[in-house]
């Protein structure tokens, strides 16, 4: 009984921690970036172009199915991505997470970053 209670506590703590880190990441997004609208949202052509951008630059780490490796390369079909809006994701692509191995993609043209966002949305 004591073990079950301990496991339940750990599970709750983990869920809270994941939720907190997710919301913490998107809380860092500046208001003006959060408010940006994807000019390519839901456009089939842009989604196709975004899939090519994904294949070119993202697939090597996040894998063809976008589910990552379960370790350092996280899944992109996740609650974290689902919770974010397009502006948040574009901001994150531009900034990267250099400390944890995700490069900044500010070198990609802005239109291609939005196409990538459209693609990531389409696979959620």
């Amino acid at each position: 009984m004591r073990w079950s209670f301990a496991l339940l506590l750990i599970a709750i703590a983990s869920a809270v921690a994941v939720g907190a880190s997710t919301s913490k990441l998107w809380e860092q997004v500046p208001v003006k970036d959060h408010a940006r609208i994807n000019p390519f949202a839901n456009q089939p052509e842009a989604i196709s172009a975004g899939s090519l951008v994904y294949r070119e630059h993202c697939q090597q780490c996040h894998k063809a199915n976008a589910e990552g490796d379960g370790h350092k390369r996280p899944s992109l079909r996740s609650q974290r991505i689902h919770m974010a809006n397009d502006g948040d994701i574009e901001w994150f692509l531009r900034q990267g997470d250099v400390r944890h191995g995700m490069p900044s993609w500010s070198s990609l043209p802005e239109a291609q970053r939005w196409q990538l966002v459209a693609y990531l949305r389409s696979i959620q």
Binding site: E45, A46, G50, Q59, D69, R73, S107, Q112, Q115
Partner: protein, 303 residues
Amino acid sequence: MEVPILRSKSLLKSIWLGSWLSFCFAILLSTARAQDKPYFVTYSHDLEEPGNLEIETKTALGQPDGGNRYGATAMELEYGTRAWWTTELYLDGQATGSDSTIFTGWRLENRLRPLIRDHVVNPVFYVEYENTSGADKTILEFVGHDSQSDLAPPNATLRRDHQHEAELKLILSSNLHDWNVSENFITEKNLGHAPWEFGYALGAARPLRSAGSARECTFCADKFIAGIEAYGGLGDTFALTIRDTSHYIAPLIGWQLPKGVRLSFSPGFGLTDSSLARVYRVGAAYEFNQIGNWFHASNGGGE
């Protein structure tokens, strides 16, 4: 006189053959895609993606006044150690017409990005150690009073001079809309003797089209990046002046081919008497993705 020429030709053939075999091998092994600005001298704040290895050759073709035509190649092995740290090894060689083909030395460089976030201006620190001979003609940077006359003497004379040099660069780079604008401030010191030398490199480049194509294509405008570079020397601590220094302006174009190969070309035009009248640069790059995974195939699976 015939013997050195024949030797030069056979060595040149070996270099070409070796380079092409490396590239063919690379293409067969992977479908990775390199992506970078097509600068030859200027650095932007783009670092190699962690775990990737890029192999690039940068060749400079020129002819100094009073000297023979030459082709000098730097083979660059660039590895993304961390997302904020890229390390590179250069192997340099050159072939001079009616002279010889020689290996001219190596360089080891590191680029470190101190700021985690992307800013309007992004600094990168560059630290390099060079162990080259005076016959190195790859001219990957111009500092101090570097002049075309340094390139004119025969290889046998030039290679007697050994250069152990440390080079520091402050790279400042911005991505503004689809433009990349980069400024490099260079300082170099021969560790044996000689003063600190200074130089600069400036570059601006952008893709011909911003949006990506919805289908795979080779000749789409978004596969091409065009730009311009300017670079030159700024004197040294003995004579901090731009008198007798070399300066160049060089338009450039990069082309992202299928199968991960990137080609770039840049004709450079000398702006002063100390500069080569023209220097043509050709680059070819290939990127191997996640080479660490080759040794840990079971970890996370393939692509």
